[in-house]
């Protein structure tokens, strides 16, 4: 994510010797991975421009394992500590110089794990940490990263993330694990989930679908009687029917308004005196005349909820201050009405 890339970049600026250490950091994840031995990733495939001279020294057959002694002497803490110590990026200074390097670069390396951008980093992932469960470790670390790095988000272009996911996923075998933690603070950042297609179109499609379903939930709360309905098609039909019925209600009420008072003499005194804007007993007039029987249920509810709010507007309210305010309010009306 953007934040992590920032921190990763910062780490890179520190020096060049950390590159070796950071690559040692890669297999962190590999250690905790029970499937590591069964991975059939091809480390040499995507070494794009990265100084490949380092890699043979790591030992391609079991690169992770060979690096572990380095790391363990440095940190002294086992890998189970890894996620915990990854957590506070700033607090990573574990004791001692060797520790410092190790722990600090833990951060960098983990940060670099998730950095997308150039082929360097991608190949880094691929070569050293291409375990099948790196994906599982990553989201945990990432979700913790994200909590720290959420302020430092930049808008990472989505293509970067997708490219990274593409290449990394191609190398990994698809294991059935639970990594469903797709941390997304910003809806632009989208991580491909395990077992799902990762080309950019499908990612964007998934983002879009989630947006739409979120808004469907919002609409479901608005439309009465739609709590039990599941399924987009039925829900959308309900929404359409509701909008149509509301529009028809407006038309019906405007027709009624035109007949009730042909000249629209909305007499201001009547308005004040008769609680014009307060809902009366709604049930009797509406039930008979409302052709949309399905939505009758809403109208009485509406009246009960809005009546108290309306009481304050009217001069009959107990508060005299309210009286004066709405008198002023209505005075403006009466001023215009006097002309007719």
């Amino acid at each position: 994510m953007g934040g992590e890339s920032n921190e990763g970049e910062m780490g890179l600026n520190h020096g060049d010797d950390q590159s070796g250490i950071s690559r040692v950091g890669m297999p962190l994840y590999a250690k905790s991975d029970p499937f590591f031995s069964s991975t059939d990733w091809d480390p040499a495939v995507n070494v794009g421009g990265f100084s490949s001279s380092h890699y043979p020294s790591m030992g391609m057959d079991n690169p992770g394992m060979s690096c572990f002694p380095h790391y363990q002497t440095g940190s002294g803490s086992g890998y189970p500590d890894m996620p915990a110590s990854l957590l506070p990026f700033g607090d990573c200074g574990g004791g001692g110089g060797g520790h410092f390097l190790g722990s600090d670069k833990k951060g960098e390396s983990a940060g670099r794990l998730v950095i997308a951008g150039d082929g360097h980093q991608v190949s880094d992932d691929v070569v050293l940490g291409g375990s099948s469960n790196r994906k599982r470790r990553q989201p945990e670390a990432e979700s913790q990263w994200n909590k720290k790095a959420v302020e430092e988000f930049q808008e990472d272009p989505q293509s970067q993330k997708k490219q990274k996911n593409d290449q990394s996923k191609e190398k990994m075998t698809k294991e059935s694990s639970q990594s469903d933690e797709a941390p997304k603070e910003n809806y632009i950042h989208m991580r491909a989930r395990r077992g799902q297609a990762t080309n950019s179109h499908s990612l964007a499609e998934r983002v879009r679908r989630e947006k739409i379903s979120e808004r469907m939930r919002l609409l479901q709360e608005l439309v009465p009687g739609c709590n039990k309905i599941t399924g987009k098609a039925v829900m959308l039909d309900e929404i359409i029917n509701y909008v149509q019925s509301l529009q028809q209600q407006v038309e019906f009420l405007s027709m009624k308004l035109s007949t009730v008072n042909p000249e629209l003499n909305i007499d201001i005194d009547r308005l004040l005196a008769k609680d014009l804007l307060q809902p009366r007993d709604r049930n009797t007039p509406t039930l008979g005349l409302n052709p949309f029987a399905r939505f009758q249920g809403t109208i009485p509810n509406i009246s009960t909820t809005t009546a108290p709010q309306y009481n304050s507007l009217l001069p009959q309210a107990s508060n005299s201050r309210n009286n004066t305010s709405c008198f002023c309010h209505h005075f403006r009306f009466s001023y215009t009405f006097f002309f007719f």
Partner: protein, 158 residues
Amino acid sequence: MASAYNPIYTDVPEKDVFALHFLQTLSNLRTQNSFSSPDNKTSDRVKKIKKAAYVSMARAAGATNRLWSRSLLHQAAKRNNKNVRFLRRKRRVTWLMRRRSNRGDPIEDVAAERLRNLVPGGGGMETSKLMEETAHYIKCLSMQVKVMQCLVDGLSPK
């Protein structure tokens, strides 16, 4: 709403704002000579009242903040041959058309088309934006219906 922090912003003003706007519009309607004359038909008056209702609803709900209200007011102004005063944003039609042609979910497209026909200004929107607009539109419509119902109740002879 279920969530306290709703990133989709769909708040509508209180009922009295709608009432105020509606009554103002109705009073403007009365200034027109053609309205009070006895020889005009009921259907015309009904249409005018209906248009007044929609226009006042669009104004009350934040006239230029929402796409549907903007397009509603624009339509109304065009019909009156008034000058359109507020700017219309340049519609990124090409991008939208390209996106919409790519999306091939038949269930949602059919319903989305119907919704676009219903909600004013829905022709140029993506589906997710359309649904936000629909939510806001539903809220405003229900508020307007409440106001009109109250008005009718108050004005009808007991």
